[in-house]
């Protein structure tokens, strides 16, 4: 299959991008003026502590050796130990990662379901009042800063009406038998609703507009005209032919959206004190907890790059013109 060689080259590219970003990150943290490490390894430490830190991060070696050590550790999944939590970064990051994924997937699924349906409807209602009123509303929600949407929701539904908690992922004092039990608890869901709504409000614009534009384009295609000539029902034309074709790029956008949201949720996680990756990154940077910041950033990057790859994969799987290329 021709598609497979394309995918192999995309996979190689993905690894290349990951490696490059990791290297850039390494250089930023080592070479930038005012490196937080320099700030951290400071007079407040005893000389022994300083030495052990320097050894731990290999600061006593040459830059190249440090780089090899860094890459070597990375390949073993060793991200060092958090200054603040005094625990391996991998462990600390994983809990946050689960929270972030729950928030991202929850909001994306809501946003894309809503966006796709509304987008298809707006395309169908092109030129009517529904569209004339709907499109500006969509554009406005898309233009609103997601954290500001969060603030307004918080002010109204949490502080004003008291329906939802004002932050965090779980109520204090709760304990769960496992990470899964925690995420699938009602308590977690109650905490999730507001931030997920804020995000979904912001995210729905893209799938909606994309779906609408694609639908309008597909509706112009000859095969849709032919479907009408064949006397097929409106339902069959819109759903089976127009929507199926229009969904291709939306599916890709969904995969890309996962990657982008994991990093982009930083602000919403901050507003809702959501213990996710983004907020962890912000806190780590603010507290000069450099191994943690590095780990969180790398994890976010990995998700982003992986999802870029998945989007590519998805596109070639969904579009027979690519999946079944060659073979004549």
């Amino acid at each position: 299959m021709q598609g497979s060689s394309r995918l192999v080259s995309r996979l190689v590219l993905t690894l290349f991008v990951l490696w490059t970003v990791a290297t850039i990150l390494f250089l930023i943290f080592r070479l930038m003026p005012g490196s937080p490490l320099a700030a951290f390894v400071s007079p407040t430490f005893t000389p022994e502590q300083q030495d052990s830190l320097r050894r731990q991060f290999g600061l006593d070696r040459t830059l190249f050796d440090q780089y090899l050590l860094f890459i070597g550790n990375l390949l073993q999944g060793n991200l060092g130990e958090s200054f603040f939590y005094k625990r391996p970064v991998g462990e600390v990051v994983m809990t946050a990662f689960a929270n972030t994924i729950a928030l991202t997937l929850g909001s994306l699924i809501v946003a894309y379901t809503f966006g796709v349906l509304m987008g298809a409807m707006f395309a169908w209602k092109r030129g009517t009042r529904v569209e004339a009123v709907g499109i500006p509303i969509v554009l406005v929600t898309r233009a609103a800063p997601e954290f500001w949407l969060g603030m307004v929701l918080l002010a109204i539904f949490s502080f004003g009406l008291g329906w939802f908690p004002g932050g965090g992922a779980n109520s204090a004092g709760q304990s769960f038998s496992s990470e899964w039990a925690r995420i699938f608890s009602l308590d977690f869901l109650r905490h999730l609703i507001l931030p997920a709504t804020a995000l979904a409000l912001y995210l729905q614009g893209l799938p909606l507009l994309l779906m609408r534009t694609n639908m309008l384009e597909v509706m112009q295609e000859d095969f849709v005209t032919m479907a009408r000539m064949k006397g097929l029902s409106n339902w069959a034309i819109v759903i089976r032919h127009a929507a199926r074709n229009a969904l291709l790029p939306v599916a890709t956008a969904f995969a890309l959206g996962i990657g982008q949201s994991v990093g982009g949720n930083v602000v919403v996680e901050t507003v809702f004190s959501w213990p996710g990756l983004g907020r962890m990154l912000v806190d780590a940077v603010a507290a000069s907890d450099y191994p943690l910041a590095q780990g969180a950033f790398l994890l976010i990057t990995t998700v982003l790059v992986t999802m870029n790859f998945v989007a590519d994969l998805l596109y070639s799987l969904l579009d027979p013109r690519i999946a079944h290329a060659g073979h004549r």
């Binding site: 299959m1 060689s5 394309r6 290329a325 060659g326 004549r328």
Partner: protein, 324 residues
């Protein structure tokens, strides 16, 4: 007739997207658009390159104008090798050869007026400014757009297809070239205006003594405009001879099928079944032997083993078939 363009052993291969297995085995599959063409065009000759889509006729035309580099083989223009052309020599070559395009609706920058479009080649060639008006006027007269002023200020979208193609032709003629390649110049035009363009091309050829290659899939058109016809099939020449001869006494089975297939605007036409099988796309993979053998009703063992060379059958009439 002194030869103006001499192509020998001309090949052009395009890389195709590789499959995984091919990448791993280090294979580099190519599509052989042009695969060994020897063609000599005399000064003042009009040659029709005839063939179905995918036969390599357009690529051949582009190779002759040095718009793309051949994979193998040489082209000599007026004695000089095109591969060596560079700098001033290349600029001179660009003045002496021109191309007329298939799609007149896209051949002029939509942001240019007719005036700017006609002036551009003159500017590029460094023709003194004071000569521009006269040169442009002459070219416009040649293509029978005599009311020059009425056209200069127009944009492409303000002209009809026939007018546009005349402007494109005028732009090609404004530098008084010696050699011109026209790639399906009327296939996008309406029937009623095609004849006008074809007649202009015939006139231009006669009055300017231009050497010309007309690329077309339309046998009747080639017959009308060109004294000589070259038939191509899958990157190879299969027949070459005086147009009237090729039509009246086609030698190659493929040419015979073409002659049969060409529809004519009369009702008293023959309804004989075509002496050909299958379609071009199915035959694409053939390498070695005669490329036409899968569709040829007369194919025999030798056709699969040995590639038939071009053979002169009558004076100036050659074809590549083992049956000759």
């Amino acid at each position: 007739m002194a030869p103006l363009v001499v192509a020998s052993g001309l090949e052009k291969h395009f890389p195709v997207t590789r499959r995984l297995g091919e990448v791993l085995r280090g294979e580099r599959p190519v599509s052989r658009a042009v695969d060994g063409i020897d063609l000599t065009i005399g000064e003042g000759e009009t040659v029709g390159l005839l063939g179905e889509s995918g036969c390599g006729k357009t690529t051949t035309g582009r190779l002759l104008l040095k718009l793309t580099r051949p994979t193998a083989g040489t082209i000599r223009f007026d004695g000089g090798d095109l591969a060596d052309l560079a700098g001033a020599a290349l600029k001179r070559f660009r003045r002496e050869v021109q191309l007329v395009f298939q799609n007149p609706f896209d051949a002029i920058n939509p942001r240019f007026t007719v005036f700017r479009a006609l002036r551009e080649p003159l500017q590029n060639a460094g023709v003194p400014k004071e000569e521009h008006p006269e040169r442009m006027r002459v070219a416009m007269h040649r293509v029978r757009l005599p009311d020059v002023e009425g056209y200069y200020d127009r944009y492409p979208h303000q002209l009809s297809g026939g007018q546009l193609q005349r402007v494109v032709l005028a732009r090609a003629l404004v530098l008084e070239p010696r050699f011109i390649v026209a790639d399906e110049p009327v296939s996008m035009l309406d029937v009623s205006v095609r004849a006008g363009i074809l007649n202009v091309m015939r006139d231009v050829h006669a009055t300017m003594g231009l050497t010309a290659v007309y690329i077309s899939h339309d046998f009747a058109l080639v017959r009308y405009v060109c004294a000589r016809t070259v038939v191509m099939y899958l990157g190879k020449m299969v027949e070459d001879g005086p147009s009237a001869e090729v039509v009246a006494r086609p030698l190659h089975p493929y040419t015979r099928a073409l002659v049969q297939a060409v529809p004519v605007p009369r009702v008293d036409q023959s309804r004989e079944p075509l002496p050909i099988k299958g379609s071009l796309s199915a035959a694409q993979a053939q390498v070695g032997g005669c490329r036409f053998r899968d569709r040829c009703p007369y194919a025999f063992a030798r056709c699969a083993d040995e590639e038939p060379p071009m053979r002169e059958v009558a004076p100036g009439h050659r074809a590549a078939c083992h049956l000759l």
